[in-house]
Amino acid sequence: MTAALWTLIGLPAAAGAVLAAGGRRLSRAAPAVAVLAAVVVLALAVLVAAGRPHLEVAFVAGGPFGLAVDGLAGVVLVAVAAVALLVLVFSVGDVAGGRARFFGLMLIFVAAVLLTVTAATLPALLIGWEIMGATSYALIAFDRHDDARVSAGTTAFLTTRLGDAGLYVAAGAALAAGAGLGLDGLAALPSPWRHVVAAGVLAAAVGKAAQLPLSFWLSRAMLGPSPVSALLHSAAMVAMGGYLLLRLHPLLGATGWAATTAAWIGAGTAVLLGAVAVGQNDLKQLLAASTSAQLGFVFVAAATGGVAGGAAHLIGHAATKALLFLAAGAWLSSLGTRDLAALRGPGRRHRLVGVTFAVGALGLAGVPPLALWATKDEVLAAARDFSLPLYIACLAGAVLSAAYAGKALGLVLRPLPRNPEAHYDTERPGSRRVDGWERAPLVVLAGAAAVLGILALPPGSDAFRRALGVSGEPHATGWEMVLSAVLAVASVIAAGWLAPRLPAPAWARAWIGLGAAADRLVARPVLGLARVLARFDDRVLDRAVEATAPGTLRLARTAARADDAGVDAAVRALAAGTRRLGDLARRPQTGQVHQYYAQAVVGLTAAVLLLVLVVR
């Protein structure tokens, strides 16, 4: 069974690496290889979800590489594998150029997600977590000739990596606490390390799940291909932020403040990004804002101890949102636009896309009996037990989700205007058709989005909770479910009716300005600081070092002068003095005897005088 677990991650990684490295030669084979790999992955995911293997191998000192499949990981694995397969099938029909690179990167991405889901230690988690980020960069920037798309990928990677830095810190704190790097042991770490770990994990989750205040990267990421949005920004990468908190919910609970913070970040995102979604005039942007808002519910669930409800919502949302993104992608390829003003009535033109989109949108709105109606009520029940203001905030978020879903639905199901073609092809030339590769996944996902509510409704919910191994979590009462259903239906009808007149204010289109704020308050100052430091490096530090060279030369010249005028002059003076002494000494040597006698007499007299003086 551990072999199955290794293969589950290794197979898509290896196949993806081969495809991505293979270049154009493998373009023809790429779709088949990728879909086949995804089928095997799905089968293996089901297998390990049932078998629940775990393994651990030595990796770095104090931090083994551990994988484990428990109930939660099992269900999420199957969901991710299934959505990945369907999205890859859709891509066969949707992605035309650079196929080897596209399918290769998608497979590597899937492997990273599977690793993240099954990780049992921090090193394993961080590996999957960061590779997800890097492949998301490459996938968002898939059309690499386009500056805007490359920048969008960069923004996504940098923003999520800001959160990832939290995981490095968390790993450091866990090691410092001396309790190993296993995910299970984090909640039991001693204070203060436990708080540091909780903060780091929370930062990482906020970044990946595009929660406030890091939500802005998801908006720009919508420039990426539609299948990428369908996988990364619904079922996989963004969902992993919520999944991490579900997995580590005991840690949040153990600190207290982290649970409250996570709950309010989630509720705040559900409300604010819900409002942002209502104010969009671009279908993909609407869906993206809604993704942040829906992940907000998962945050609330993880923070308030509603793990089963959160997991059910995560899975239900994965199916629903993948469906909606694929439908939006189908229209984008076919009609060449994603502008909601232009997308009036395409649901009547491509009826199958329209019907499946309607199923997804109604599900997103929380209309019974579709999946997200029941799963969201489970989350709301957990929030209710936590605090009443949180419950009310979540209820407001639920109403807003019905409103934005209703807006989208009201527009795409409207009768076609007289000359619809006039507004098409703003983004790229559309093909005007949706082929079988694109239609089949829509049908499967619509079915899933319709029935996954059983995870949150008895008797299915009991089996689901047993599978997850949780008990005693709150259920929604009948009244609450009726209330949310009534609110959802009323909001959908109202928003659908008013859809063409709903405003798209600038603050909503700018996602409440967080991206611009990050640019102005973080990116530009950092770049400015970098330029200032670079100038400092060249003009101050380096100049100072270089100034020592002429300084040394001056010192050398001074020393040379001192050498000439001082030491050497003294030596020359000594020589001259000696010469003068020599001259003096030569004077008496005249060669005349009488002078020598005279000198001898003088010498003798001096000697006698000296003797007399000394003896006395």
């Binding site: 490295a21 270049g23 030595a58 990796f59 770095v60 000192a61 104090g62 931090g63 090193p123 961080l126 590996i127 999957g128 960061e130 590779i131 890097a134 960069y137 920037a141 690499r144 000739h145 386009d146 500056d147 490359v150 920048s151 990928g153 960069t154 990677f157 940098l158 990596r161 800001l162 830095a165 490095y168 810190v169 790993a171 450091g172 704190a173 866990a174 090691l175 410092a176 606490a177 001396g178 790097l181 540091v196 950092v526 770049l527 600081l529 970098a530 330029r531 430091l533 670079a534 490096d537 530090l541 380096d542 070092v545 270089e546 060279a549």
Partner: protein, 494 residues
């Protein structure tokens, strides 16, 4: 055995220089064969190594000052010996098409390889110092003789003078150790056992200052790094790869081999200085790199960033109060892993920069743009190297940085927390560089024929492959490094 490993390249260099009849082509292939044989020899040494000091040679050399020809390998030096042979081999393969005075070029690199191997296997301070200075001379000749750009001679002189002054500080420190030891000795093993300056506060601090300053120039750390960018910018690609890949490691290796085990008391007292300098180097290097428009200068500054992590880790390993030895040895392991990892990845990046210059005639990133469409293989290799350098998991940089951060956090939480932001900056600067050179609309005048050639790929790809293998299967390397790192952590705590 070790002596043969160290001096074989020098012998080959002499043969190449003296045998005038040998054609250029044969010279180049001799270089490749000799450096490949060195790689094989290190692999053999590695597989035969079983703990402690292996392959030890100890002969009297200058008995008057008790300096011996003392060589040996352990878990700290063996990875660096392996790195040295691999980088030099990659440079030999890369230079197969080199036409500018190939005989002298090959001989110079072979001689340089001897100095690097000798330094990493030296167990005597004088032997260490001699190889240290000879490596400076060799690299000076490479930059001055084969550098491009009008400033090459000036950059080479700056490199020589700056690092030479650093080496003099190092020599002062070595003499301090020698004088303090009883009996006087330059033997590194004896000095490590004696720790002669323990309990002699101010003297120990001054000796550490001399040694630390000398190593900091070589590493280089802020604020002693300004010789690095011009040296790299003007050096030929193979010279840059050796300079960044191998020569910088002499500084960081000195910390774990000399400063920490021989001056444990002083190191513990001033470890915070290393931590602060490490963090400043990491952040400052990354920020200045972010502002560069010259691709090669940018990579040079990322070296300051990566070396900063090492200095942070060795500093944190000296802050022993309140942390367990387990975490500190993880930090030292991370530091040694980072030396290997940085050598492989930055070596590859500099060779790739050489390809860029060869084709486009400039390192200015603004002169390119959209290269990925026309030179896909070159773009792919550079992208892999860039992601490896920014610490992406599945490459060795992640293994190194993860251990550095986790191991240092317990001792220096605030400093480590700041240093972690460095991974964000390196991510930003590499993604921006990739964008400016390879992505976006085509803004250059290169044709698909400018794509990377098989010979260049054969030099660069193995470096990245090794970085990948270490990133995915780190155990073989870590099994070697961990015991040695543990003993360094223990030695510092004495």
């Amino acid at each position: 055995m070790l002596t043969m490993l160290v001096f074989a390249p020098a012998v080959a260099a002499a043969v190449i220089l003296l045998w005038r009849g040998l054609p250029d082509r044969a010279v180049r292939w001799t270089w490749v064969v000799v450096s490949a044989a060195e790689v094989a020899a290190v692999v053999a040494l590695w597989s035969g190594y079983d703990g402690g000091i292996g392959y030890e040679v100890n002969r009297p050399w200058i008995p008057g000052v008790r300096s011996g020809y003392h060589l040996g390998v352990d878990g700290l030096s063996l990875p660096l010996l392996a790195l040295t042979t691999v980088i030099f081999c990659a440079c030999a393969v890369y230079s197969l098409r080199h036409t500018d005075r190939p005989r002298r070029f090959a001989a110079l690199f072979l001689a340089l390889e001897t100095t690097c191997l000798g330094l990493f296997s030296a167990l005597d301070l004088i032997v260490f110092f001699v190889f240290f200075d000879l490596s400076i001379v060799g690299m000076y000749a490479v930059i001055a003789g084969w550098g491009h750009g009008a400033q090459a001679a000036r950059s080479a002189l700056k490199f020589f003078l700056y690092t030479f002054v650093g080496s003099l500080a190092l020599l002062v420190g070595f003499i301090g150790l020698f004088l303090a030891a009883v009996p006087h000795t330059f033997d590194m093993v004896e000095l490590t056992t004696q720790t002669p300056l323990t309990g002699r506060g101010a003297t120990g601090a001054l000796v550490l200052l001399a040694i630390g300053a000398g190593l900091a120039v070589k590493t280089p750390t802020f604020p002693f790094h300004t010789w690095l960018p011009p040296a790299h910018t003007d050096a030929p690609a193979a010279g840059s790869a050796v300079l960044a890949g191998v020569l910088l490691k002499m500084g960081t290796y000195g910390f774990v081999r000399i400063a920490m085990p021989m001056l444990p008391e002083a190191w513990r007292r001033y470890a915070l200085v290393a931590v602060v300098i490490g963090v400043i180097s990491a952040l400052y290097g990354a920020l200045v790199a972010l502002a560069q428009t010259n691709f090669k200068r940018m990579i040079a500054y990322t070296s300051v960033n990566h070396m900063g992590y090492i200095v942070l880790a060795v500093g944190a390993a000296g802050l022993i109060s309140g942390t367990d030895v387990e975490a500190r040895s993880v930090a030292v392991t991370g530091a040694v892993t980072q030396m290997v990892s940085h050598g492989l990845i930055t070596g590859a990046l500099f060779l790739l920069a050489g390809v860029l210059f060869d084709r486009g005639g400039t390192y200015e990133m603004g002169a390119y743009g959209g290269l990925a469409a026309d030179t896909p293989r070159f773009a792919a290799l550079t992208a892999v190297a860039a992601f490896a350098s920014l610490g992406l998991p599945a490459f060795s940089g992640f293994i190194a940085e993860f251990q550095i951060f986790t191991g240092s956090f317990g001792s220096a939480p605030v400093a480590t927390g700041l240093a972690v932001l460095g991974i964000l900056l390196t991510a930003a600067l590499f993604l921006w560089a990739l964008h400016r050179v390879f992505l976006g609309p085509s803004r250059h005048a290169l044709s698909p024929a400018a794509d990377i050639r098989p010979g260049e790929t054969a030099a660069i790809a193995p470096l990245l492959l090794l970085a990948f293998v270490i990133g995915v299967f780190p155990r073989p390397l870590l099994d070697l490094v961990e015991p040695a790192a543990r003993s360094v952590a223990d030695l510092v705590a004495r």
